[in-house]
Amino acid sequence: MLVAAPRLLRCTAMKRLVVIALAAGLMVAGSRPSEAACGTAAGPCNCSDLPNPIYLQVGDTQLNLMKALGRQLRDNTAKPITLVWVTSGSCANIDLMYHHNPQAGITATMSYAPSQAEAATFTTASTPFTCTPTTTPALFPDIGNSALFNSACTQETPPSKLSLTIGPRQGYVLAMPRGTSETAITAEEAYFLFGFGPTMLQAMSAAIMPWVDEGQLWIRLDSKSTLLAWAANISVPAAKWHGTKLNGSADVVNALLTSANPAAAIGILGSEVYDNLRGSLTVMAFRAFGQYAAYYPDSTATSRDKKNLRDGHYTVWSPTIWMLNTDGTNPVNPDAKYVVDMIAGHPVTPAPTFEPNVTVAGVGLVPDCAMRVQRTFEGGPLSLYTPPTSCTCRYEATVDASSCDTCSATTPCATGICRDGYCEEF
């Protein structure tokens, strides 16, 4: 008994220690859910262990931008930053930034681009590295993105502590599997096709060739910018669309490429997705309501200059919107503003070790400085636009070919302004 009492005390103390250790372990697990080392493909590691992480929730059309810019920023010696992103629909991203809905914040595995030292051959075609977000406290993005006007998702005024910046323009296309002889679709055809559906049209003796298979319309969920942008351009509300609603761009691509009836298959995509699959898909030229002819986003079916998108002949595009947390005046995280400014083509300090507009152009987006038309709401009428400075020559040289004169400190321009090696108009 005399021996048993201390043993009991020792046993109780031991139990307490175990409980404390377990509790501590659980607390650690809450904030540090994984222990893999960052900077390897083996992941996921803890996102918070990455150097200077900036968290983003973006539309999946911005995936290649995240990879390319994320890569550049990892090795941006002037200010190294790790973009840590997750993709979701634009309307969901707006809801998260406006209302912190869902309250749990980001819980899904996130992605980041490796640095040069971590993966020398990483490109936008590579699989990004992964990490696990902190869940205690809940993680909310520093930056949210919608790939269309926010007003297409909600008429609500943005919170006063959220700063909205218009970024590069995003094109949207209708595409068919390669091999089709079809080259164009009119807004009226698209209205009937997606608003009535092939089955009803055939019953009304109004079939639109070759799109006669109800099961071969591949579209996106109602919260996705791709669907909402097209909806606004053909006057068919998202909820009224006929077709199979898929979650991701990759799902639409897969449906088109594996279609059992490819001659009748058609799907909606971001133009940058199509650009990377030109060998497998055919883009449809589009004739808007009131337009005399149909046009591709680019000046020809094979070019990559987005000329028609930039000058108003191709109407299906949206601005990308970048939402940044502020305290009402200043950004909560100045490095997050550095990223947003970079994406929007604004000057940043310190100067990066790369050209952000070139990175933006390289992933299929159109920088503001290359645009000559604008609109104020989704699918709204276009008006002429003059950006503060032009980068048309530099843009065209990046994505296709430029006919502009080149220049240097010793070879000035005959007309225009020498900028980035090209004689820009202004």
């Binding site: 009226e188 055809e189 639109i208 005399y292 149909a294 276009l382």
Partner: protein, 86 residues
């Protein structure tokens, strides 16, 4: 014969002047071809050279490839109006 040549030249000149003028107010034929003309490039005969309005911007003269298409849409209204969605 000489009169025929002169008439042809005059007709071509008139078509050139009215086809794509610099006043930005050209409201020529909406589509140059009555049938599907297929892909084409080069200056458009029915276009606006100094666009300012939305209709002029989307129909501005361009060297970009353009495709004329005239689908048969029996559900369209007589004036090209769209019926309500089901």
């Amino acid at each position: 014969m000489r009169a025929l040549i002169l008439a042809t030249i005059a007709a071509l000149a008139l078509a050139f002047v009215t086809g794509c003028s610099d006043d930005g107010n050209n409201s020529g034929p909406k589509d140059a071809a009555a049938i599907d003309a297929g892909p084409s490039s080069g200056p458009d005969a029915s276009c606006f050279t100094n666009p300012t309005t939305y209709n002029e911007i989307i129909n501005a003269c361009t060297t970009a490839q353009k495709i004329y298409k005239h689908p048969n849409l029996p559900l369209l209204g007589s004036a090209g109006s769209l019926p309500p969605l089901p």
